[in-house]
């Protein structure tokens, strides 16, 4: 897109034109901007700036790519009185997110056992399209899941109270109301709790390769050579259906808003309206479901490690470092022009990055800032970052969420034709098992932006800082 104006080495402005209420700002680098080519995401940043009640600017993170409605990697905050909430600004997979589990194991402890571990995880953790979990929830139990989130899982034997302390929002958003969730969404949710899903969702064993910030790493309990497990999943069919239901309702009533929208997928409702409140209450249910889901996946991961390695929980020391969501809208206290304001922050493919001292952080992280987990694409590994004051001042306490797609799935499938992807990964020392036929082809590393470059931008821009880099050893995918 022409018309982008460079502000500094890390930021580009989408100037305010036409019906835009604020300008757009894209965090990126010369190279990432160049690689974007004909991608229409800057136009989507501008489209979001048309929405009523948007505060300050429409933001995008360096992993930005063309989505529908909001760009993936988009962040936008709205005033509670005259602002809106948009299901498309959250995404279909409500509270898609990830959690990182640390262990007392080092690489040497698992090197010879990787095949057994990956095979056992693949067997024990339901994954793939339409996979069903081991429990069929009663409607009454499902309501509890939707209200209590991760706590429901812990109360039912999947983990400990300590896990909740290191989960964003303690694993539950308040004001979740199951009455606002459709019968169809509830039906889809009952069978899928405790499943990984398909596509870009995965569970990966990783080793800490490099520490950048010793103080923060020590607070997070990370050391070089340590084995960790990263789980990336979301709210499954329940979340997709909630988004689908509310998007359709908002599209149907678009006329009442009297807002000329550049894209129907931006359909929204005022936060201060029954429809807006109903969506928020339903979205909270889906977010809570996702936290319960990841809590269960982590519990089974712990069990599998115990069985395969024949070690007790204490010896393994599998502790939840943190759990973050990266598709969500939340009512948060932000800083705008140096003053506090309560806003509705949409993060669609972006991660919360709260600064040191923030009251939402568990005591042990309060000095160093919120852990931010950035999963890479299949087999590249991940980063652990920490939130900063600058993120709070500039980006409503937000940063990037991953590598970001560069190739479409069809392009990736073409590029990988005739290649044995699992073999290629094995040659690099990464064991991968996937249930979907085309998943590995679609998810080849070249299909994604370079994670190092994405993370370098947010680090250089100061909206989060590098703490550690993790390298992939084994991965299960849906």
């Amino acid at each position: 897109m022409t018309g982008l104006k460079k502000i500094d080495d890390c930021r580009w402005m989408v100037p305010q034109t036409g019906g835009m209420k604020v300008p757009g700002i894209i965090y990126s680098s010369e190279r990432l901007i160049r690689e974007m080519g004909a991608d229409e995401s800057p136009k989507q940043v501008a489209n979001v700036a048309h929405l009523p009640g948007i505060v300050k600017y429409s933001l995008a993170m360096p992993d930005m790519h063309w989505g529908y409605g909001f760009p993936i990697g988009g962040v936008a905050a709205f005033d509670l009185q005259d602002g809106i909430i948009s299901p498309g600004g959250v995404g279909y997979d409500i509270n898609c997110g990830c959690r990182l589990v640390t262990t007392r194991l080092v690489y040497e402890d698992v090197r010879e056992r990787m095949r057994d571990l990956v095979g056992a995880l693949f067997r024990d953790i339901p994954s793939g399209v339409g996979s069903k979990g081991p429990l069929k929830l009663s409607p009454k139990e499902e309501r509890k899941v939707l209200i209590e989130g991760a706590k429901w899982a812990v109360d039912n034997g999947y983990g400990t109270d300590e896990d909740l302390e290191t989960t964003e929002d303690m694993g539950a958003i308040a004001d979740a109301d199951p009455e606002m969730v459709s019968a169809r969404a509830l039906e889809r949710g009952r069978e899928q709790l405790g499943t990984l899903g398909s596509g870009n969702h995965f569970l990966e064993i990783e080793v800490v390769e490099k520490i950048f910030d010793a103080t923060a790493a020590s607070a997070f309990g990370l050391e070089e050579g340590q084995i960790t497990v990263l789980i990336h999943s979301g709210s499954r069919g329940l979340g997709y259906q909630v988004c689908d239901d509310y998007l359709a309702r908002m599209v149907k009533h678009l006329g009442e808003l009297n807002i000329p929208l550049p894209d129907r997928q931006l359909a929204c409702a005022y936060l201060d309206s029954p429809r807006g409140k109903e969506y928020l209450a339903a979205m909270a249910c889906a977010a809570n479901y996702a936290w319960a889901n990841r809590q269960m996946l982590m519990h089974w991961t712990r069990e599998t490690f115990q069985h395969v390695l024949k070690k007790g929980p204490r010896e393994l020391g599998m502790r939840l470092l943190y759990d973050v969501c990266h598709n969500i809208a939340k009512i948060e206290t932000c800083v705008v022009d140096g003053k506090e304001a309560t806003l509705c922050v949409h993060r669609k493919g972006a991660t919360r990055a709260f600064p040191p001292g923030h009251s939402a952080l568990p005591a042990r992280y309060r000095k160093v800032g919120q852990p931010v987990l950035i999963p890479g694409d299949m087999g590249t590994g991940s980063y652990v970052l920490a939130g900063t004051e600058k993120a709070f001042a500039e980006t409503f306490g937000s940063t990037c969420h991953g590598a970001g797609r560069l190739m479409s799935r069809t392009q990736a499938t073409k590029a990988s034709r005739g290649r044995a992807i699992a073999r290629e990964m094995a040659d690099k020392g990464i064991i991968i098992m996937a249930s979907g036929k085309g998943t590995l082809q679609e998810e080849i590393p070249e299909a994604y932006k370079n994670l190092d470059q994405v993370v370098d931008v947010v680090h250089k821009a100061g909206i989060s800082k590098k703490v550690a880099k993790l390298r992939a050893l084994g991965c299960i995918k849906g």
Partner: protein, 138 residues
């Protein structure tokens, strides 16, 4: 005439669908969805469902129709292979679809389609046919 073709969209899946009539366009759009999800030659038309959809225009109607047939798979596990449209105008559609329940011993899922989006959806009538474009979240 091809019934549909896939076009590129970075994170998602775009489909351009064709039909001699608007009925055919809608039926071919449903075919495009299920042809992408699975191998329809292995699916039998054993169970029929009635469908009644409303919309605020052709685009909205098409999205709502596809949302409905996709739900029948994602929510109820039905792989659909036959799609009839009995009545259609820009605000209403009545029809039937038929297929059978997904059975992992006989069927294979090639791709998951999560949702139908409204992003850049178009339906237009040209001199000799109807053309629709829809982007799916996959």
């Amino acid at each position: 005439m091809n019934r549909y073709r896939i076009f590129d969209h970075t994170a998602d899946l775009g489909m351009e669908v064709f039909g001699k009539t608007v009925q055919e366009l809608f039926a071919n759009a449903a075919f495009a969805v299920f042809d992408t999800i699975s191998d329809l030659s292995r699916v039998r038309a054993r169970e029929e469902r009635k469908i009644a959809i409303e919309g605020t225009g052709w685009e909205d109607l098409l999205v709502n129709y596809l949302r409905e047939v996709l739900y029948l798979f994602n929510g109820e596990g039905l792989l659909l292979k036959e799609y009839s449209i009995m009545e259609i105008d820009p605000q209403h559609l009545k029809g039937t679809v038929s297929g059978e329940r997904f059975d992992s011993s006989r069927h294979r899922i090639n791709m998951e389609i999560k949702a139908v989006t409204y992003h850049q959806v178009t339906v237009r009538e040209t001199s000799d046919r109807w053309v629709g474009r829809v982007i799916f979240d996959v």
